[in-house]
Amino acid sequence: MNKIMVLLFSFANIQMVVDEVVRSINEETTEIHLCFYQNKDIPDTLSSLMGVYLGDRIQKDVENTILKEYFRMKEEITQQFIRIAENHDIVLKNQLFKSYSNNRICRYIKKHEVNYLIVNYFKNEFNSQKVFANIEKEFLDRIAIKKKLFKHHN
């Protein structure tokens, strides 16, 4: 039994992740867990930068545009994975992490007996919801399964 978990901290260069998932699917693959890490607000750094000049309502308009767009992208990516799962006769499970908790993610991996973790991460404090000083040490090293990190830098 082979279970793949895709953890998306970012939508940057998403096609690389999709390609990796398709490559990793074999006859033993039974489940794909598509997990999004997405806050309900935009990152603080960006919010404070814009807040210097913009009035509350204009800032909210900008923030809503960003959030709306990111949730739309989430839907598009989900649809893409639904098609992949259907094509390979695999079960697709969706999970949204609204706030970051290393333990929670680890528990999820354990509970669902995930074998392979694919992470997409963009180190960018202006539009990433979660920014690690070192994602390998702070997050990935604590997870003792096969994993692949797609890390995009600013």
Partner: protein, 464 residues
């Protein structure tokens, strides 16, 4: 190894210099008031750079410290805050809020972008030009906020993906750079322009009116707009199939806006009248008075309500600009700026070329890292004093510092349109820094050539 936090280092250094300046004996050639003015200046500089306090709060801290440390009397300090530039900004922010509220700017942008042809170059051109033109009549940050959802819709309809798509990168960069370049062209695009003119008046009693500013700034901003456009299409050149079909979505969005509303029509007429007064009647009616009356008129015609104004305008900007003008004026009026520039000349040779390059370069470096208002307020007083030694025309110094101070092309913290463009998630910082540095370099060379060769031909002499 623990990462060094440069913000904390700058802040601590600022504090140490502030306290040291207050304790040490007054250096030769400097008055006690001047010494304390420099201490306040350094403290505010460190706070502006690090953002330890909100920018507006740093400004009012400066206003409080100036009378407290005996730099200027309380009456003088507060009267400088009441500068006409501050009231111009106040009026223009209210008018800009009305433009935002009615949706007239959005309509014009949709119209412009929906009429474009089916090529990458033309789409990018339409975005950068829309952004530039709107920034001539309203603050650049509001322009970026208006165009942001439109560019997002464009990107969405073309099915472009974050970081991968050169088309999307070009579109968001065109949005930011168009607003930044447009923002230096009039008093309305960037309030730092009127702040610089206010400082010129406080220091030399010389005034620059709306049309004078425009006639010299546009000679610079217009070529810069085209250079920005060519840099974007050169670096991010790409192709997207079925553009025309996909862009029909934008046309539909424009149609959805429906017929022009009554408020939009009234605002358009009012705005044309205000612009006419600013451009042709400023010798009779001060531009600040026109701005305030314009602000009042949008209420009279019920285009916007007070509640809406409160939600659209960040009043902290007024404090920020007012504080910046007070701190900068305290440096010139106490002789502190002159003392600092004399110190600079002990290191640098008395050369026109070197002084201009140093002023442009330092302003540019500063404006990429801190608010451009702060950059102008920090550099201008010292640049005036340096210019005095070489008999530079202070009007040219005002243009050079203000125009350079408005042009941050690389970093999100340099200009609000950059921050908004970066928030899309489509831009990569390293890439933007790379192309932004090229544009920064060209913009500095172009400004030098225009200041030395072109402006004198139009009557703006380099020396007095």
């Amino acid at each position: 190894m623990k990462k060094i936090n440069f913000s904390n280092i700058i802040l601590i250094l600022g504090m140490i210099i502030f306290i040291s300046m207050l304790i040490i004996p007054t250096p030769q050639g400097l008055t006690l008031e001047g010494k304390n003015a420099i201490a306040i200046f350094v403290l505010c500089l460190s706070l502006w750079v690090t953002n330890y306090l909100p920018l507006a709060i740093t400004s009012i801290l400066g206003i409080a410290l100036i009378p407290l440390l005996g730099v200027l009397s309380a009456a003088e300090t507060f009267s400088i805050f009441g500068n006409r530039a501050v009231f111009f900004i106040l009026g223009s922010l209210i008018i800009a809020a009305a433009i935002y509220q009615t949706g007239i700017a959005k309509r014009v942008s949709y119209l412009f972008i929906s009429k474009i042809d089916n090529s990458f170059n033309k789409i990018i051109f339409s975005i950068i030009v829309s952004s530039y033109l709107l920034s001539l009549i309203m603050p650049e940050h509001a322009v970026a906020a208006i165009l942001f959802p439109i560019v997002f819709e464009l990107v969405k309809s073309l099915k472009l993906t974050p970081l991968e798509s050169n088309f999307a990168k070009a579109a968001f960069l065109a949005l930011a750079w168009g607003a930044v370049v447009g923002g230096i062209t009039t008093f309305l695009g960037g309030a730092r322009n009127i702040l610089a003119v206010g400082l010129l008046q406080n220091t030399y009693g010389i005034s620059i009116n709306f049309i004078e500013w425009l006639q010299y700034s546009i000679i610079y901003s217009l070529p810069l707009l085209f250079i920005s456009y060519y840099i974007i299409i050169y670096y991010f050149n790409t192709k997207v199939s079925n553009i025309q079909q996909r862009l029909s979505y934008i046309s539909k969005q424009y149609e959805k806006l429906g017929p022009v509303k009554r408020e939009e029509k009234i605002l358009a007429i009012l705005f044309l009248i205000i612009i006419f007064f600013w451009m042709f009647l400023s010798n009779y009616i001060d531009i600040s008075v026109t701005a305030i009356l314009g602000g009042v008129s949008v209420f009279v015609f019920k285009i916007i309500s007070w509640d809406e104004i409160e939600s659209y305008v960040n009043w902290g900007i007024i404090l920020m600009y007012g504080g910046a003008i007070v701190i900068a004026t305290s440096l010139t009026s106490t002789g502190a700026a002159e003392w600092m520039s004399n110190s600079v000349f002990e290191i640098l040779p008395n050369s026109t070329f070197i002084i201009l390059v140093v002023v442009i370069l330092i302003t540019k470096l500063l404006t990429e890292g801190v608010s451009n208002v702060a950059a102008v307020a920090i550099i201008l007083p010292i640049a005036y004093s340096m210019g005095d030694i070489l008999n530079f025309n202070p009007v040219i110094i005002t243009y050079i510092v203000s125009l350079t101070g408005g042009l941050a092309f690389c970093l999100p913290m340099g200009a609000p349109p950059n921050a908004i463009a970066f928030s899309s998630g489509y831009l990569e910082l390293r890439e933007v820094i790379k192309v932004g540095l090229v544009l920064n370099l060209i913009s500095m060379v172009l400004l030098y050539i225009i200041a030395v060769r072109i402006w004198p031909l139009l009557g703006l002499e380099l020396f007095i």
